[in-house]
């Protein structure tokens, strides 16, 4: 098993970095887009709410592979995007729908008393939202956001469908050549676990730090 790594370490490492890069871009992009979707879904205006909900429901209910392939074979014929960006854009759109749901859930689970307390104290709706409810909503959403980030890392293997040169893609190339899929996939699996475990660890730490501040 070791020799698979020693013989292919460059290929594997390349794939590893592509997976991390795509995940990080996916994380930042989907967090931004997801927050926008969530705010749209909670907006006072009915038409904004409908737009937000439509986006979220659409991307939540079709497979990531469909979104990714659409960018790869259809969109790429007009805009020159390769496998990496088709996959990463697919990841961002798909994940942002889930992040929007997490944030909405977080905000909903902030005790209604927080809003009432703030309003009774004279704060406007916007002030109460930005100073009191949203910050608590984000914190309450951290565990479920963490789950989404782990899913994001796992889902980045979608790049292998579109020649995105990620870890999964390289695993297929290597095992197609050495005909030892057993050990090749185990090695690659360990690398994936390395990334997902690190994400869990960071999320746990964040949870604990914030848990000390807000005990519910």
């Amino acid at each position: 098993m070791i020799d698979i790594f020693t013989q292919n370490w460059q290929t594997i490492l390349n794939g590893f970095w592509v997976t991390i890069l795509s995940s990080v871009i996916g994380l930042v992009g989907s967090l931004l887009l997801g927050t926008i979707f969530a705010l749209l879904e909670l907006a006072p205006s009915r038409s904004l709410r409908i737009i937000g909900t439509a986006f979220v429901e659409f991307f939540r209910n079709i497979p990531l592979l469909v979104i990714t392939m659409f960018f790869y074979v259809v969109v790429s014929s007009s805009f020159k995007i390769g496998g990496f960006w088709s996959g990463t854009i697919g990841l961002i759109l798909y994940t942002s729908a889930f992040i929007a749901e997490c944030l909405r859930g977080g905000i909903a689970s902030v005790d209604a008393g927080q809003m009432e307390g703030a309003r009774s104290n004279g704060l406007t709706y916007t002030q109460a939202m930005t100073h009191i409810v949203l910050p608590q909503g984000f914190r309450l959403a951290i565990p479920s956001l963490g789950n989404q980030f782990i899913n994001l890392v796992k889902n980045s293997s979608i790049l292998s469908f579109v020649a995105g040169f990620d870890l999964m893609y390289q695993a297929n190339v290597i095992s197609g050549a050495n005909l030892d899929p057993f050990n090749t996939y185990i090695i690659v699996g360990i690398l994936y676990l390395l990334i997902t475990a690190s994400v869990s660890w960071v999320v746990k730490r964040l949870e604990n730090r914030i848990g000390k501040e807000v005990i519910r």
Partner: protein, 214 residues
């Protein structure tokens, strides 16, 4: 009628929907049963055993499903387990989703609250009776909405089986637009719509349960 929606293409695609739904239903049933058992083991903290199960569940949960599919189809035969694309997909999905279901069931069991357990124990019921008559029914009821969400993911994830040439919906759409690039956009719209209809109905069901449970 010819073009993207010729009779034979439509029939071919609908059969793919059948495969997608078939794989999904079988995997849902197996993963629900296996996941419930795992979930109870995780909840009950059986010495050593639970720790082992926890390690396995965490490992599988944190791997890409695609990797598990490839592993099942290409690597498991080396151990003498021969699977065709269909059974390999069902096996991989069931294993992966069972770990997801386990976590949901465990969460459901925990959310029932210690008070129910203490109430039951204090009337002289033993642990198994308490679990079976009091905790599990409430936990399952609470788990329905997150389980449905998980099963929506499962339905979507069947598309990954194109990688091992399972002739499900996504694969068949590729075959059809492989005939003619002009069919690409119609095919994407069609399969997106098909997946959406199946999954959105499921998510409406989840919302309905959600409302009824509060």
């Amino acid at each position: 009628m010819s073009g993207a929606f010729s009779t034979s293409n439509v029939q071919y695609l609908l059969k793919g929907l059948g495969v997608t739904v078939g794989v999904s239903i079988i995997s849902i049933i197996i993963s629900f049963i296996a996941g419930s058992v795992l979930g109870i083991i995780l909840y009950e903290k059986v010495p050593y055993f639970t720790k082992t199960v926890r390690l396995i569940v965490n490992t599988i949960r944190n791997l890409p499903l695609l990797l598990i599919i490839f592993f099942t189809y290409f690597a498991l035969p080396k151990l003498g387990v021969e699977l065709n694309a269909f059974s390999a997909t069902v096996f991989a999905m069931s294993v992966f989703e069972a770990t997801m279901v386990a976590e949901i069931i465990r969460g459901g069991l925990l959310s029932v609250g210690i008070g129910q357990t203490e109430g039951a124990l204090s009337t002289g019921m033993n642990k198994v009776q308490t679990l079976w008559y009091i905790i599990l029914p409430q936990a399952l009821k609470r788990s329905i909405p997150p389980l449905i969400s998980q099963f929506i993911s499962l339905v979507k994830d069947t598309s990954l089986a194109t990688a091992i040439v399972l002739p499900e919906l996504m694969f068949r759409s590729q075959v059809i637009y492989g005939q003619n690039p002009k069919y690409m956009v119609p095919m994407f719209i069609t399969i997106a719509a098909l997946y959406f209809v199946v999954n959105y109905s499921l998510s409406l069901l989840a919302k309905w349960f959600d409302k009824r449970l509060v």
